[in-house]
């Protein structure tokens, strides 16, 4: 189909969908309305179980089964990336040249790295109290690790990141979530039931029964998953070369290229 025809199709379809969406928007309850039956019930249920952050209670208790699904999507996407970005028969690895990063950048990276890791842990740990949790904190911690690539070079990162343990950690954290769920089933009530542990003092780190456990499992899963994911891309972009392709001469050796290539 030539671009012109396609544009016509997009215009027709887009116009129809736009009309539909606008008509629907006009019939939606006004923005900021007061009717949120499910939301109000969720807040009450969260307070009953001594979880200060209602969102965490919805995520890791009331709708923990959804989170299991999301967690699995994450797990599957990472496993899929690993398979898709594997080194194939016609490729080999060429170790990159050490990069030469300016001293201030290097110092900044080394200074911020521990701070960022701590922040990640803090965000995970306080998940059931204040905004944050396993999903956010895991990403922060994993991103922090890659300051080593930005501030030093890929080899420095590889030294602290043997990929095997992270892959195993990813899978084990997923299993931990599932095992907690099955424990709920065996412990007499239902799958993922939060009835095994005491709910603790409201607004403390140990409150909420299994919520902190599931939260921690998610944090570990996400952190490991992101590390593995980025490892796949970094390997492809920096190390893996096809037959006949030049190795990376210089880690920053980008040719000056016209954009839009």
């Amino acid at each position: 189909m030539n671009p012109r025809t396609r544009l016509w199709l997009v215009a027709t379809g887009g116009a129809g969908l736009a009309a539909l969406l606008v008509a629907a928007c006009l019939r939606l309850p006004d923005f900021g309305g007061d009717r949120h039956p499910y939301g109000d019930r969720a807040v009450r249920a969260s307070l009953e179980r001594h979880v200060a952050n209602t969102v965490a209670s919805v995520n890791f208790d009331q709708r923990a089964f959804d989170t299991l699904g999301e967690l699995t999507i994450l797990f599957a996407a990472v496993l899929g990336c690993m398979v898709l970005l594997r080194q194939t028969r016609d490729e080999h690895r060429a170790p990159p040249e050490p990069a030469d990063v300016a001293l201030p950048v290097r110092r900044y990276a080394l200074l911020v790295l521990p701070v960022a890791l701590l922040t990640g842990l803090y965000v995970v740990a306080h998940g059931q109290l204040s905004p944050g949790g396993g999903f956010q904190g895991g990403v922060v911690a994993a991103t922090a690790l890659h300051l080593l690539y930005l501030g030093a070079d890929y080899r420095a990162l590889e030294r602290v990141r043997p990929i095997g343990p992270y892959e195993a950690g990813d899978a084990l954290a997923t299993s931990a979530y599932l095992v907690t769920g099955v424990a709920g089933l065996i412990g007499g009530s239902a799958f993922l039931a939060n009835t095994l542990l005491p709910y603790g003092m409201f607004n403390t780190l140990a409150s909420g029964g299994t919520v902190p456990l599931l939260n921690a499992a998610v944090g570990m899963e996400v952190a490991c998953a992101v590390v593995v994911l980025l490892a796949g891309f970094l390997d492809q972009a920096v190390e893996i070369v096809e037959e006949g392709e030049d190795g990376e001469r210089d880690d920053d050796g980008h040719d000056h290229e016209e954009p839009g290539k």
Binding site: V10, L17, A24, F31, G39, V55, C81, F135, F233
Partner: protein, 119 residues
């Protein structure tokens, strides 16, 4: 002002979704197309959170305020969106991994030049 505000968030979500879909359909670069897809995804978050908003309310987080003192917004949509944001990023990564392989095997990331599957 208020009449507009009552639907503006929804309209913005619809606009963002349509814009992303337009970009996807007319993209000349698969990396750009994946970026457009994440724009579409952002539309869903905007819509979800707009649906859950309540005038004059605050976040349903009681670490720094006592329960019941202020009205709170709907936590359910937040929970739905929050997990999806992170998961969406990894799905984007999966798509990008496929783009890398398309570039390797076809030598191009321009959808106009991918002509192997047709008819």
């Amino acid at each position: 002002m208020t009449a507009v505000l009552h639907v503006l968030p929804y309209l913005v979500a619809a606009w963002v979704f349509l814009a992303g879909a337009y970009g996807l359909a007319t993209s000349r670069n698969l990396i750009h197309a994946v970026g457009c897809l994440s724009v579409c995804q952002a539309a869903t978050y905007v819509l979800l959170l707009a649906v859950g908003y309540r005038d004059g309310a605050t976040a349903p987080v009681f670490s720094d305020m006592a329960p019941g003192t202020r009205p709170v917004v709907d936590p359910v949509v937040q929970a739905l969106a929050l997990t999806d944001v992170v998961v969406g990023a990894t799905v984007t990564a999966l798509l990008l991994a496929l783009v890398v392989q398309v570039a390797k095997r076809h030598g191009t990331v321009d959808p106009d030049e991918l002509t192997e599957l047709r008819g």
